[in-house]
Symmetry: C2
Subunit: 235 residues, 2 copies
């Protein structure tokens, strides 16, 4: 299938950065510095797992707007004792929450975005807030034309306000904009609103590859990397 | 005076780009192509002059949210006949409005921003909307960490929502953020809210230099260019 777009908006966690490798390494370094042993990879997976229910509470209006730092902090404080890690100071929790501001990109991400930026508008479309995403872009070198963040919309994906809001800010119809993501459900939400969908397979995102690394629909583009997506985009 | 800041936010029109030279040249090129003679520099000044009253109508809530393209279009349609230019097609008005998306930077702007970006967060804080600013950054090469735009806030400067909103998105207190601008009134609004103020003198902005190119208060920094401002910032 050939596809053109005026803008490509990217999911970030998992699609462009290796959150699992980065956060687990950061937790392990923290543990080594504080002389704490624990299943840091298990904590990382549980931490990421706590993210969606917490966001859904915000999305359903059960709690007031809460950014990802605050959601991450609450989730970690609850999780650590379950993994036998107790007595972590408040200041340390603050430091650990910032691990999500310093994630390592997949090896192809920066080169792919830089190439794509020569041809179309590139932006993030992430549930991270502005402060997190600005810090992450400085850390990684993501050359964004525009950062679209949850706190700009007061909504989290997959709320339609996020996808349609970004298209409106850019002055483009949804059909002129592609969402690029490694998550089928994110792409399904975008497609339902008339956006194009570019799947980037990231088989290492959750450790061992599983069904999630495969396209669940006939997305406009199915790619193995950002440069591959750029090569398949026919404009 | 020495000054530190975690972020420097920039006014754009006049502070970083030569709107007067760019727009008048664009209008003159349009006139040449359509075989229309007119006082294009006079039209440019009148066009820019119509901007503040139009924004103030939005700010006072007299008209619903209207972005700069729409304000520019309405103002130009009204102005042209007063300057003896009649019969301009709607499609041509659309083209002329886009002149404000393709302004030429002052010679020092890109180099200064690029240097400053290595040390602090740099963002725009402009009354332009997202679409205009994204296009302008692509045209100029402004290496923004973040674009803050009027339509993100639903307000125009000098409404406090714009200044305080940007600080909040960044997660910084107003005192940790500097506004850099060539306009004393913009800086006065920022200072009143607790932000730092960096004046950049642009004596050519309105043609012949006048009082507007001089600092009206003891701003934290008074500079002649973006690199000069960067050099005076002590972090």
């Amino acid at each position: 299938m050939t596809s053109k777009a005026k803008a490509v908006l990217f999911d970030v966690f998992g699609t462009l950065v290796d959150w699992r490798g980065s956060v687990s390494a950061g937790l392990a370094a923290f543990g080594a510095a504080r002389n704490i042993s624990a299943d840091w990879l298990g904590i990382t997976d549980a931490w990421r797992g706590a993210y969606k229910p917490a966001m859904d509470s915000v999305r359903r209006g059960e709690i007031a707007w809460t950014n990802l730092d605050e959601l991450h902090r609450g989730a970690l404080a609850t999780l650590l004792p379950k993994f036998g890690v107790t007595g972590v100071a408040d200041a340390d929790l603050d430091i650990l929450v910032k691990l999500w501001h310093q994630l390592t990109p997949w090896p192809d991400s920066v080169a792919g975005l830089t190439a794509l930026k020569q041809r179309v508008v590139i932006g993030s479309l992430s549930n991270g807030h502005v402060a997190l995403q600005v810090a992450l872009a400085k850390h990684t070198g993501f050359p964004w034309d525009m950062i679209f963040a949850s706190d700009i919309f007061g909504h989290y994906k997959p709320d339609p306000e996020v996808y349609l809001g970004a298209c409106k800010f850019l002055g483009f119809a949804p059909g002129e904009v592609m969402l690029a993501a490694s998550h089928n459900e994110d792409l399904a939400a975008a497609r339902k609103l008339g956006m194009q969908a570019g799947f980037i397979s990231r088989p290492q995102e959750f450790g061992a590859p599983d069904e999630r690394a495969k396209p669940a629909q006939d997305w406009e583009i199915v790619a193995t990397s950002v440069p591959d997506l750029a090569a398949q985009l026919k404009n």
